[in-house]
């Protein structure tokens, strides 16, 4: 449906996107996972036609996506990273404005607004100025404002920042419902939990480069280990840490945590007997299934939240 080929975008001397290539199929729930400044919003803005790439091409349904193409705009919906609403106006008025800009009017628009407000549980606040909304409520309105015209492709740029777990869950369910009904979604986030839960396919992006691309399982097989053991980097564990490189890969995160990934040949039981020999209690150690977080660290050398 959408394809990016060697897309590059520079802001002055800063390269925000360095040759990103990507194909997105109809009906996909695609996740773009990366830390601050990775280039997620830049990617979204290029797809939405807000900016033109310096090099490379973007196509939607085989048609080149050049900035200003009216047809493309009608089939796209953008949920900006920041709350992009008229805060002095109420929820109803905001939706009426954005719906009208897509050529909606009359009872059709009316019905869509009602449904949208219902879907994000804002019906009883529809006449209140948006500035009186809580952060989570604003987020929800920000989301449905991009859906009134029923786009084929929805671009969600970190739509859950500052939303409490309950509202977040409501948003997830709503998006999953929309996706089941056939909406293609590109979802950017720096929460690996979100990407893990929502996305059928994930791209890991950092410093403007797409480091990995695939389903969750495909991505995790890229990790050269199956299990990761974490324990605090303290003087008490120093002696153990000194012995570990012989048995696997040891890294230390900036927040003072050792991460040990045993070689395939190394048995977990032998690791724990080694720990016992240093008189270290078992509660110091946590064992983890490989995660996107671990993959990200493995690929980029930094954590997602750095």
């Amino acid at each position: 449906m959408l394809s990016l080929a060697s897309v590059t975008k520079r802001y002055g001397s800063l390269t925000a996107l360095a040759g990103v290539s990507l194909n997105i199929e109809r009906g996909e729930f695609f996740g773009l996972l990366g830390p601050n400044g990775a280039g997620k919003s830049t990617t979204m803005s290029l797809i939405a036609g807000l900016r033109a790439p310096d090099t490379g091409t973007l196509t939607l349904d085989g048609q080149p996506l050049n900035a200003g193409s009216a047809v493309a705009r009608l089939s796209l919906g953008l949920v900006p990273q920041h709350i992009a609403l008229y805060s002095e106006l109420n929820a109803d008025e905001n939706l009426r404005i954005f719906g009208s800009l897509y050529g909606l009017s009359g009872s059709d628009l009316r019905a869509r607004i009602d449904a949208a407000l219902e879907a994000v549980q804002l019906t009883d606040r529809r006449r209140d100025a948006v500035k009186t909304f809580s952060g989570g409520m604003q987020r929800r309105l920000n989301l449905v404002a991009a859906l009134l015209h029923r786009p084929k492709l929805l671009l969600c740029d970190e739509p859950t920042v500052g939303v409490d777990p309950q509202s977040r869950n409501a948003i997830f369910e709503y998006l999953e419902q929309l996706n089941r009904d056939g909406l293609t979604i590109i979802y950017s986030t720096h929460y690996m939990e979100e990407a893990t839960r929502l996305c059928s396919r994930i791209g890991i992006i950092d410093h403007g480069k797409l480091h990995a691309l695939g389903t969750l399982d495909e991505l995790l097989t890229k990790l050269p280990f199956e299990e990761e053991i974490r324990f605090p980097a303290t003087p008490a564990t120093a002696a153990l840490a000194a012995q570990l490189p012989a048995h696997g890969e040891l890294t230390t995160t900036t927040d003072g945590l050792h991460r040990f990934r045993p070689h395939p040949a190394t048995k977990l039981s032998s690791f724990f007997s080694l720990a016992e020999s240093h008189a270290l209690p078992g509660r110091l150690f946590t064992s983890q299934r490989p995660t996107l977080e671990a993959l990200f660290l493995h690929l980029t050398g930094r954590t997602l939240r750095e």
């Binding site: 803005s45 009216a70 796209l76 990273q81």
Partner: protein, 485 residues
């Protein structure tokens, strides 16, 4: 204490980061003080206005009249025109008809003319008769010109005045009796104040009452003069005669000359000015037209730049992203702002003019159609100004700072605060570069001069031109600038 110092330092750091605040704190007041200083002549040896155009038609062959013309030419408040230049570069003395012609039109070069009639000194009435033609678009200017004219006439040609008295007395008393009267007065003066009776008598019949000595170098602040009340007896009686014999004087004593000498105020009553308004004679409130127009346009500028600056708010809120992702183009966003600005500006101007109608009786309905047209053009020019600000400023704060500065400058220069003719010539050159000037021109052309649509076209053209040029610049800058990034 340390805490407070830290907090104070933080404010200073912020303040010096904020260029617009710096501009508002230091530069704008300085420029304004300079402008006002120029107008009120602080630091100049000669205060008061400079070079107000004045057409002078001299129909009298009295040598005193020629002297008056020279005095007017020497008066730096005026730029005097006495000759009509024919197409072949030859000249002839200006006629009253020439003067009237010079005072017509949208950009009339002269708004004031002095006609010195052939019968300047009449034996039928006491006093001097002058005719002032005016196109008094602005009350301050009119008052100023009247004041300076009267001051000049009085301080420079007292003998004209005295000649008039003597002529009247001769007519009234007969030659012989006048001579006797002069002799008696001279005797009384010599007896009371001392002096040579023969000399005094000669002076009296020549019309020299000693006023010239008093007023040629008027030192109104001189305490001795004030204490002694030195008004010469003849002048004083002349004043009382004038008060009864002549119709009530039309205008008040000079306004600019804030310390009129007693003699001057007495004499002001016997110089009669027949004032004829050449343009707008039937307009009910001339002063209000300029005042309402000037302030309305200034606040319109403030309102419209604020609305243009809201572009920054929308950008910062990310609303442009949402709009531009929908089937909305940059041009449409800008055009939307423009149409909004023109509409709100038009409404604001009309509301203010209707308020002027209620408060001051400005005749709005009579010219409603053309007034709406001019207001729309003025609103368009003001809107484009606001849009250009938003286009060139890096952020809302900077735009607001620049707006305040430029609006105050344009209002002062363009004549919204005081008549531009009161400003020094070199500053006046900039007036016509401001849209405030042309908007006010438009208002006064409609409400004051009662012009027709065709006569309005030049001003509309200029306002439209300003709008087109400024908007093109703004759009060009918007497309290259950061506001849509």
């Amino acid at each position: 204490m340390h805490t407070i110092l830290v907090l104070v330092r933080k404010d200073f750091t912020n303040f010096f980061r904020n260029k617009p605040a710096l501009l508002l704190t230091f530069v704008i007041p300085f420029v304004m003080i300079y402008l006002f200083g120029q107008i009120f002549g602080i630091n100049r040896k000669d205060s008061g206005p400079n070079g107000i155009p004045l057409a002078v038609v001299n129909l009298s062959d009295n040598p005193g009249a020629a002297k008056l013309v020279d005095a007017l030419k020497a008066e730096k408040s005026f730029r005097v025109l006495t000759k009509f230049v024919n197409p072949d570069k030859s000249t002839r003395p200006l006629t009253e008809a020439d003067a009237r012609a010079l005072m017509q039109g949208s950009d009339a070069p002269f708004r004031f003319a002095l006609v010195i009639p052939a019968d300047l000194i009449s034996t039928k009435t006491i006093g001097l008769r002058f005719k002032i033609l005016s196109n008094p678009r602005n009350e301050i200017e009119t008052q100023t010109v009247n004041g300076v004219l009267q001051k000049t006439i009085f301080t420079n040609v007292p003998e004209l005045l005295a000649q008039s008295l003597q002529a009247r007395a001769k007519d009234f008393l007969g030659d012989a009796r006048l001579q006797k009267f002069n002799g008696a007065i001279a005797g009384a003066v010599a007896g009371t104040f001392g002096g040579d009776k023969a000399q005094i008598e000669r002076d009296l019949s020549g019309g020299d009452f000693g006023i010239s000595q008093l007023t040629q170098s008027p030192k109104p602040a001189d305490p001795t003069l004030r204490r002694l009340d030195p008004t010469p007896a003849p002048a004083r009686s002349a004043a009382s005669v004038a008060a009864t014999a002549s119709a009530a004087p039309k205008s008040d004593p000079p306004t600019l000359d804030s310390h009129p000498s007693p003699a001057a105020s007495a004499a002001a009553q016997i110089i009669k000015f027949e004032t004829e308004q050449v343009v707008g004679a039937n307009v009910k409130s001339p002063a209000a037209t300029a005042i309402v127009g000037g302030w309305a346009i200034q606040f319109l500028l403030f309102a419209l730049s604020a609305s243009a600056v809201s572009l920054f708010r929308e950008r910062d809120a990310g609303i442009f992203q949402r709009l531009l992702a929908s089937p909305v183009t940059r041009a449409q966003i800008l055009l939307g702002k423009f149409v909004y600005g023109v509409s709100i500006g038009l409404i604001q101007l009309l509301v203010l003019f209707f308020a002027g109608r209620i408060l001051f009786g400005i005749e709005v309905e009579k010219h409603l159609g053309l007034l709406i047209l001019v207001c729309a053009f003025a609103a368009a020019a003001c809107t484009s100004f606001g849009m250009l600000l938003a286009a060139i400023a890096p952020n809302a704060e900077a735009a607001n700072g620049m707006a305040t500065f430029l609006i105050m400058m344009m209002s002062a220069l363009g004549g919204a605060w005081f008549p531009i003719s009161l400003m020094p010539q070199f500053i006046q050159q900039f007036s016509k570069l401001t849209l405030v000037y042309w908007s006010m021109e438009g208002f006064s052309n409609v409400l004051w001069a009662g012009m027709s649509f065709v006569q309005l076209l030049p001003v509309l053209g200029i306002l439209g031109g300003i709008t087109a040029v400024v908007m093109s610049l703004a759009i060009w800058r918007f497309n290259r600038g950061k506001i849509f990034e």
